[in-house]
Amino acid sequence: MDGFNIDLLFKIAGIGIFISVLNIVLKQAEKQEQAQMLTLVGVVIVLLMVLQLINDLFNSIKTIFNLF
């Protein structure tokens, strides 16, 4: 479980670096709109991954503290 979690951290950082590189390439090729779309898509993908993790956290806190 822990290995998977730390994998997620590296995955998000990798996506960030990858997208910034692609962004530079697209900007050099004068495709500003597509660079913008790429940024948006990257943020949404990462947000989906983060949401699952936050859901895990909320569920465990809910079960531990009897929150309903």
């Binding site: 997620l8 951290l9 990257g42 531990i64």
Partner: protein, 128 residues
Amino acid sequence: MEIVQVIGLGLIAAVLVIFLREYRPEMAMQVSLVAGVIIMLLVIRHVAGAVQAITETAVGAGVNLVYLQTLLRVIGIAYLAEFGSQVCRDAGEGSIASRIELAAKVIILVMAVPVVVEVMESIMALIP
């Protein structure tokens, strides 16, 4: 040696965040959020054991379980609200962070009302 894991995770996350903040501030924010969630998940398992022990002690002492449950819920809400408001504050949204704290305070107040009412009733019963 859980603390070593937590420290290592925090340092790695800090390096990644500093690197990403220059190019992708939104990704940097997500990385710091994920690091916070992972550290919370690592630590929250031990809280479960402590809560279990406290509950057993309370049952042994004959304390009404409703009070203990209210207390635990308040602690849980406080943890969650603290987490959320810190994430918002990290992202530079201080006003949303204070709204989250305000909401947590209101919800805790609502949850504490039955206990307060009970205290008031016992005081009323004492007064002739």
